[in-house]
Symmetry: C2
Subunit: 179 residues, 2 copies
Amino acid sequence: MKRIAFSLVAVAAVAGVVARMAYASGQPDGAVAPIYGITIPPGYRDWKLIAVDNLLVPGKADQVRAQLGNEIAIKAFEEGKVPFPDGAIIAAIHWTRVPSQGNNRVLAGPFPGAQSFVVGSSVNVQFMVKDSKKYAAAGGWGFADFTDGKPGSTALTETCFACHAPAKATDFVFTRYAP
Amino acid sequence: MKRIAFSLVAVAAVAGVVARMAYASGQPDGAVAPIYGITIPPGYRDWKLIAVDNLLVPGKADQVRAQLGNEIAIKAFEEGKVPFPDGAIIAAIHWTRVPSQGNNRVLAGPFPGAQSFVVGSSVNVQFMVKDSKKYAAAGGWGFADFTDGKPGSTALTETCFACHAPAKATDFVFTRYAP
């Protein structure tokens, strides 16, 4: 009984540290995502850039996106090594893509017909966390999705690995390092 | 005469250092861009992300783009301060935007009709360097453009400040920090 009580205190203490770290990094909370038990990595917004992309799902989504990596992930990308080593984390930040009328007015002079699309608002942020033992059943990766700091559902999170499975040759990572 | 000779040696020595720094950072050379005398800042590809965008000029350009900032620039963005302090540098990296058939095949299951666009190849990289004294005649900013490490022409570089002039309220910077 004493042991259980101690464990609860320890868990509460760790949760408190995580919550404070998350707060310090501008994240709204230290909520834990389902299945893989991932929290938002503090400071991820300041990680180095892997690549950028767009996703268009007609009638549903029009996004500009960036993938950032922690130091372990970036080093692996630069060296072109797969599988990624344990500790690698990739953050995928998704924003709505909106036309910039201001930019278009400026561009109209030198570039007639030019269309500029910029970041609108935050949609969500997703993480892949490499831990070959802990996440052995999912190719060694844990997956998480957060919208406004709140983790996605178990049902949503269950779809992550299945969707990444076709990228097995690149250790389940779709993104390539941009030159 | 002795003084001139000494200066040339000093210039050559500095140029050598710049060239070595550029080489160490993976840049092809230490070429100096016209008008503002800017060289490619070593390590810029590892700077923190400001924002991403798209530019479409029908028949001419279809780009995904990212803006990165050195520590001085990022701090100013985070604090929402203008004018940017001296030493701030913003890097704008431009790539061709290409459809990813591989991503589209994967997305077709969960997201019918989804279109993924990813980084194709490097187009160019542009820099804004803040030095309120040195570049007083151009709003305190020096501008440079590099394609494959080679600086753009004087004619091209002359257009930079005129194009940025409408953004005077935000210290001639169009990009907003993405959440």
